[in-house]
Symmetry: C2
Subunit: 148 residues, 2 copies
């Protein structure tokens, strides 16, 4: 089933991408889709993104870099804690978010039409539960389980 999820993801990705290019925002890289919506939903720095996305801080750092140079996000140093940078959506960033959300909604509606709103939200919740139980520990290379 994991690959079924991948295929569905692919579908979402294509839908979003084509809407974005229509709107002249084709230079937004895919992980940006989630990063921007996470920012729109209240995440306000890299650590938040890292938790939300389930990737390493390095990956986030790099991603934010490209988002900044592409003009979707602005980095502003946090006054209270000078290690942090607050991340703010630019106008372009907000535009992207709204396009993404509407594109997602289209596919979502299709699913809802097929299984009903109740079932859909149930499902979504279940998935969220499973997702959150993956401790955001991205390990790829040899597991080193045992012998620390």
């Amino acid at each position: 089933m994991p690959w079924l999820l991948r295929r569905v993801n692919q579908h979402y990705r294509n839908a979003i991408r084509s809407k974005l290019t229509e709107g002249g925002l084709g230079d937004l890289p895919q992980p940006g889709y989630w990063a921007l919506t996470a920012l729109a939903k209240g995440a306000h720095d890299a650590s938040h993104l890292m938790i939300e996305m389930g990737v390493t801080k390095q990956a986030v750092s790099k991603l934010v870099d490209t988002l900044v140079t592409a003009g979707f996000v602005e980095r502003r140093s946090n006054q209270a804690d000078r290690r942090r940078s607050d991340l703010l959506l630019t106008t372009r960033g907000r535009k992207a978010v709204s396009i993404i959300e509407s594109a997602v909604k289209i596919t979502e509606r299709r699913l809802i039409a097929e299984v009903g709103a109740r079932t859909f939200s149930q499902l979504r919740q279940a998935l969220e539960e499973v997702a959150s139980s993956t401790t955001n520990a991205p390990h790829h290379r040899d597991d080193t389980r045992g012998i620390p």
Copy 2:
């Protein structure tokens, strides 16, 4: 929501991977998970895999290569059509498949426990429908929609 799917996928991946390494099959690369189960379910050559997985034939070719050298799959040239190679699971391959399936089942059971078998299978079907509508046209680079 796409990234929710990614997270769930991550969960599956971790579960499978840890079971595989327990069984001494840690050298199976992730896309192999799906490829092997697809083979077990009746796909018998690279073209089938390509359709099933939604990636280019080049990707499949490379993947099969590594699966062969790692001893999960055997390539045997098809007598009736000598362009094709039939792909057969080795014993090792079959062992991997059974481990993967059982690992998947564990997560699946958890989802079922949460939403019920009926809802689950409904959901799965809906996802399959969406997935199959993504024409397995892996386009990444500029869309060239219009002007063929």
